[in-house]
């Protein structure tokens, strides 16, 4: 079945089979995109579910002017950005709460998942590396962040990124250049402080 047929099937006959096929086909795209923004795989999976629910609910608004994948990227990016913003707000509130209640945990708005198989030292180092990477990526301005994640996590071409972001190819080039420069600055500072 083509994408258009799947969409038609879902809209016309509310077909569960067609919807499941849509999810199976685009699951990697959505999970990997969300994964670029969030700190844990579990969060990316939760977000993926939200993305597909939104897709189902607003499928009637989808016009075949753009590719289905482009539309899915946009929804996944928007959902992820909102999720990260929400987490950030919660973390600010928690740190205020800790300040008044005298808690001593540092401000970390990313819950990095742990790999129980690795040895403790490596595990801690990996956790720190993940945290540094996510903090650096999420400190980039939205447009640079989106361009960087679509390029690095999805290996999309400049043209494809331009379609998703609705900007010119030249803008994507510039966004990626600045994103890498900014990320490098942040990561170098952090990596100098690490063993």
């Amino acid at each position: 079945m083509t994408d258009q047929q799947i969409v038609k099937e879902i809209l016309n006959s509310n077909s569960q089979k067609a919807f499941v096929e849509l999810v199976d086909r685009y699951q990697p795209l959505v999970v990997k995109t969300c994964r670029g923004f969030v700190a844990s795989y579990a969060d990316a999976e939760d977000l993926t579910q939200e993305v597909f629910i939104e897709v189902y609910q607003s499928l009637s608004n989808f016009r075949n002017e753009s590719k289905l994948s482009t539309w899915l990227y946009r929804i996944a990016v928007n959902k992820s950005l909102n999720f990260v913003r929400k987490k950030k707000r919660e973390s600010v509130l928690q740190s205020i709460d800790r300040f008044f209640t005298g808690g001593n945990r540092g401000s970390q708005y990313f819950d990095i998942e742990e790999n129980s198989n690795a040895n403790p030292e490596k595990q801690i180092q990996k956790k720190e590396d993940k945290l540094i990477l996510k903090q650096a990526i999420n400190s980039l301005p939205d447009n640079q962040r989106i361009a960087f994640i679509l390029s690095k996590y999805q290996d999309l071409s400049y043209k494809e990124i331009a379609e998703v972001m609705n900007v010119t190819v030249a803008s994507v080039e510039s966004l990626l250049f600045r994103a890498k420069a900014n990320l490098q600055k942040k990561l170098v500072v952090k990596s100098k402080n690490k063993p």
């Binding site: 699951q27 579910q49 629910i53």
Partner: protein
């Protein structure tokens, strides 16, 4: 290349965006400068997390079913007629109660006010009669007679 410049070329080096001369200069510097080497090694480790996260994906064969059942539950809760009738009934009863309450309140208030006003008027009349008895003081009649 100096340390400052090297520190801006890490990503470009890893993504093979440097030309031959730049690669030689970069590698030459890294092999002799301990600080840059240390920073570069940490950088490689952190940056490699992107690849790790990319390859972390494992497809969930039941994801479509899971999401479909969630959608189904949501749709049912949206479309449930009993719930909506109940909601409408509750809202209407509450609104009607509020309306009746306001009407009753204003009626009682006006009744109390009118009885209080009557009492006040009566007491004023009595007081006036006591100090200025109508048998003696007839100001309007006197005024009419003078004219």
């Amino acid at each position: 290349m100096k340390c400052k410049e090297i520190n801006t070329k890490f990503i470009e080096y890893l993504e093979k965006e440097l030309n031959e001369t730049q690669i030689q200069q970069f590698e030459g510097h890294i092999s002799t400068c301990t600080n840059c080497k240390k920073a570069f090694n940490s950088f490689i480790r952190i940056y490699a997390e992107i690849e790790f996260e990319k390859n972390e994906f494992s497809p969930d064969p039941f994801l479509g079913q899971k999401i479909w059942s969630k959608i189904d539950v949501k749709e049912k809760s949206y479309n449930s007629p009993i719930l909506s009738i109940r909601r409408v009934a509750f809202t209407s009863i509450a609104a009607a109660g509020l309306f009746i309450g306001i009407i009753m309140g204003s009626l009682i208030n006006s009744l109390i006010l009118s009885s209080v006003n009557d009492e006040i008027e009566q007491s004023w009349t009595l007081l006036t009669e006591e100090y200025f008895p109508s048998e003696i003081y007839r100001p309007y009649e006197e005024l009419a007679n003078n004219e």
